[in-house]
């Protein structure tokens, strides 16, 4: 049986984060949305084109961002989310998305990942698809993340 979209992204997230020393990924809540209201500090948006197409928005707090980026930089402390740190966060979720696409490829669906795009700010209203978006609230080694998955096949 084919793996569900949400499972594919959770598998990919766990696989990439484990390379940086983060423990298992636990799904806390799954819901569906038409419109996103983003109240976390940072969001990385990545577009996908091909047999699988859509957008994925990964949202997280500033605290989580610093921990993730620090882990990517071999434990170097990250005080502020400067351009370098933003770029690292974008790259991290680019890796997660690319990893997910290799899992789709095993189902015979070829797709390409576009450039990651990072945004921050308050009270953000966003639409990332005309299809329903699945929102996954996850815990990754004590860090909270939200994955908003809008995949159109």
């Amino acid at each position: 049986m084919e793996q569900k979209h949400t499972d594919i992204f959770l598998t990919a997230l766990e696989s990439v984060l484990s390379q940086f020393g983060f423990g298992g990924v636990t799904l806390n809540k799954e819901s569906t949305k038409d419109q996103l209201f983003i109240d976390r500090d940072f969001t990385v948006v990545i577009g996908i084109t091909g047999d699988v197409k859509g957008n994925i928005a990964y949202s997280f707090s500033s605290d989580t961002a610093r921990k993730l980026v620090s882990a990517m930089m071999m434990g170097a402390p990250v005080e502020t989310m400067d351009d370098m740190a933003m770029s690292a966060a974008g790259e991290l979720f680019n890796m997660v998305t690319a990893n997910a696409l290799t899992l789709f490829e095993k189902q015979g669906k070829a797709a390409a990942v576009s450039l990651p795009f990072v945004l921050s700010g308050g009270d953000i209203y966003a639409i990332i698809s005309t299809v329903e978006t699945t929102a996954l609230e996850v815990d990754a080694g004590g860090n909270e993340l939200e994955l908003n998955i809008a995949i159109e096949e």
């Binding site: 419109q35 983003i38 948006v45 990545i46 577009g47 996908i48 084109t49 091909g50 197409k53 859509g54 957008n55 928005a57 351009d83 370098m84 933003m86 770029s87 974008g90 390409a112 990942v113 576009s114 450039l115 795009f117 990072v118 945004l119 921050s120 700010g121 308050g122 009270d123 953000i124 209203y125 966003a126 639409i127 990332i128 698809s129 005309t130 809008a150 159109e152």
Partner: protein
């Protein structure tokens, strides 16, 4: 070649704003290789693309008054809030049409085989957009209703 890329998008923005919303352009700024951080002027939409030679994205960022005026001209209804669903949908479809127009021209001329991801649109309080490690050109466009900004980011070359 890079100039050709952003020129194509600028031409699409100007022609499609005119055709769809009757919005004329007073001044088109010179492309700036900005990169780094930029604060959204009000509402922004992003269309990502990828193909066999390049991948990237097209962001159109508008001041509130420009966006509300564009939506009113297209839809025939005046909205006063950028968070209205029809405002978000219209701005997002507008960018989809603009990016589709540019990508069509690039595919026909350069065989880039580009395909678009669905558009993303967002609005909020002091939204900062970050871009790094990619080539980027920002073009400021002034209209009688206010300003908008086109940001093209890409990797690879035509």
């Amino acid at each position: 070649m890079e100039e050709k890329l952003h020129r194509t998008f600028v031409d699409s923005v100007v022609s499609i704003l005119k055709k769809t919303a009757g919005l004329t352009v007073d001044k088109i700024g010179a492309p700036k290789e900005a990169g780094g951080q930029q604060t959204s002027q009000g509402i922004a939409s992003v269309v990502s693309f990828s193909g066999n030679k390049i991948k990237g994205r097209c962001i159109i960022d508008m001041e509130q008054e420009v966006a509300l005026d564009v939506v009113e001209n297209i839809m025939g209804t005046r909205y006063d809030n950028l968070k209205e669903l029809m405002v978000l949908y219209t701005i997002s479809e507008l960018n989809n049409i603009i990016a589709g127009d540019s990508i069509t021209k690039l595919n026909n001329e350069f065989g880039t085989g580009l395909r678009l991801a669905p558009p993303v649109v967002f609005t909020g309080r002091k939204v900062v957009m970050y871009s790094s490690q990619v080539k980027e050109a920002t073009v400021d466009i002034d209209t009688p209703k206010g300003s908008l900004r086109l940001i093209i980011a890409w990797e690879g070359s035509l």
